[in-house]
């Protein structure tokens, strides 16, 4: 297992390098002079020249990359041109709401999707199954920001149960914190829930038709034990994969959903940076998110070993 972890970590190096290169060259994809674009049409040539110098744009490209990369590796993502703070600080200060939102949405979707998926598999072909799967299909087809808008319409205009905008940090109390995140989390989690429910259902159906399920029944085990102990543990393996893959989608959705509900998260940071042409912030944020995503997948991969002994063996 240890060797496997090391191997897996080593294999991430080229990927991280490519990720970094991509983020670096993003700036150079800007048509024309990046410095001039960043400063806007009113900037004087002197200001542009100063910024070019400051950004190191006059150096050879490989040297630029090397400088940038060594900075990044030390945790220095550069400075925000507009906010006049290190990008890393801006990132950290906007991380909280996004993380809370993503975790809440993930938790919410797992909690409703897995029981629904299992139920649909057990009642395969019945009205219950069909109804849930139609709902799941619909859920998969509503982009989270659209659902966010619709929830805003219903809750902001008709009912007045939950706040539709704003944010309160965890320090101000758990309920206060969660209250602002409920609607965003529902709109973000719905599509997740739909995907997970469908996956759980098909995975459970596969497993329930396997021979060892018959063995478990023949032992005299209760149906509940057969389903939740013997079948579910096996069905969990593909579900885990989906959870890892969809976490990326969750961040994606969070970025847009945040802007709908005015949450001061990473989404807002990036969107503001775009309108302000604050490229260092865009670069830094997407780099950090990509790296997080890669490490998250690593963790999911390692979790397999805990669930599936066959993986543990083959990877020893």
């Amino acid at each position: 297992m240890k060797a496997y972890i090391i191997k897996r970590l080593l294999s991430m190096i080229p990927v991280l390098l490519i990720v970094a290169m991509f983020v670096f060259f993003l700036i150079h994809m800007i048509p024309g002079d990046p410095a001039a674009v960043m400063l806007g049409p009113e900037a004087t040539p002197e200001e542009v020249a100063a910024l070019r110098d400051n950004m190191g744009l006059n150096l050879p490209i490989y040297e630029q990359f090397f400088n940038w990369f060594t900075d990044v590796a030390r945790g220095n993502l550069g400075d925000s041109l507009y906010m006049n703070v290190p990008v890393m600080d801006a990132f950290v200060s906007h991380l909280g709401p996004t993380l809370s939102l993503a975790l809440l949405a993930q938790g919410f979707s797992i909690l409703i999707a897995i029981p629904i998926g299992v139920l649909a598999a057990r009642k395969r072909g019945t009205g219950v199954d069909r109804t849930f799967m139609i709902i799941a299909m619909l859920g998969m087809s509503i982009p989270s920001f659209l659902l966010a808008l619709l929830l805003m319409l219903v809750f902001g205009v008709r009912l007045n149960w939950l706040p539709v905008a704003g944010y309160s940090s965890l320090a101000e109390g758990v309920w206060q914190h969660v209250k602002f995140l409920i609607l965003p989390a529902i709109s973000l989690g719905a599509i997740q829930a739909a995907v997970i429910a469908r996956m759980t259902r098909s995975s459970m159906i596969d497993i329930l038709s396997m021979n060892f399920i018959k063995t478990a029944k023949a032992k005299g085990l209760k149906q509940k034990v057969v389903i939740y102990k013997h079948a579910f543990r096996n069905a969990l393996i593909p579900i885990l994969t989906i959870l890892g893959e969809t976490f990326g989608a969750l961040i994606t959705g969070a970025v847009v959903t945040e802007t709908v509900f005015n949450l001061p998260g990473l989404g807002q940071l990036v969107i503001n940076a775009i309108t302000r042409r604050d490229y260092a912030v865009i670069q830094g944020t997407i780099l950090m998110i990509a790296v997080t995503y890669l490490f998250l997948n690593l963790i999911i991969d390692l979790l397999y070993g805990l669930v599936d002994p066959r993986v543990r063996l083959s990877r020893k």
């Binding site: 060892f212 478990a216 023949a218 032992k219 005299g220 002994p309």
Partner: protein, 337 residues
Amino acid sequence: MSHPLLEVKELKTRFSTEKGTITAVDGVTFNVDYGETLGVVGESGCGKSVTAESIMRLLNEKSTKYGGEILYKGRDLLSLPESKMLDIRGNEISMIFQDAMTSLNPVFTIGDQIAESIVVHQKLSKKEAMKKAVEMLRVTGIPSPEKRIHEYPHEISGGMRQRVMIAMALSCQPSLLIADEPTTALDVTIQAQILEVINELKEELNMGVIMITHDLGVVAEVCTRVAVMYLGQVIEEADVDTLFDSPRHPYTRGLLQSIPKINGDREQKLHTIKGVVPALDNVPKGCRFAPRCSFATEKCLEEAPVLDELPNGQKVRCWHHARIKEREDVPDAIEAT
């Protein structure tokens, strides 16, 4: 008078499918007593596995309808509620399946899987159950069982897995063991060992065993009596010697003649039964074997024969069993190929 261990009376198992109802088992009757091994023989699809799973009530009961009776120690299993069946499965009646690899749960250790039924049925603690699991593995002939119990099914060999299945099935000392093709997936040498283990444990526990197989070699080796099934019906039943010496049903004769003999004439061609088994949703009107039978007459095609009991206790479902007395003095029922 005490009840026999198991009496299956006119068992009918019907499945409702999209295409309509299929009768997979159609009026099967047989008995199994303590210490006896009944072989159930037939081609695949003849209903032998469905019979076994009906006894255990393992089939999906939403789409399955039962008829007849399955009396276990005098109690009809078919009318028991599911909660009572839970106490019988794995405790009173156990089952071993054909493919041990896929019949063991890949994510639990062998020890966990054996101990599970002990905990459920004998109300022992997990620790005591594990001890018992080690004991059971030792009985089935697995070396260093205290190490093995921590291993996973994919870590041990096929023969070993089938021993684990046996240990699991017998861990609660059942009175009846149903073995559904327990050796089909194994090498010949391992096959013999596994049959040996089953036989020994049968003697020790005085269990009844139903040995489901398509292999007449297995039958000859371990069974005391044999029921031959064809298309959901028992077509002949007799003790093992009678059946091998004087089969009365043309189908049984066909089966027996299709086994190569070690001391037989090498020039002589092996026999096969002509034709193919009809589909279950399209069974012949009269005798089910008639379309493939060279003894068949008008009557056979029109009227279904009943299971006749002969004076020697042999049972045959054939209009012409009187004509098929001895193996040698009748015209060949079988087409040579």
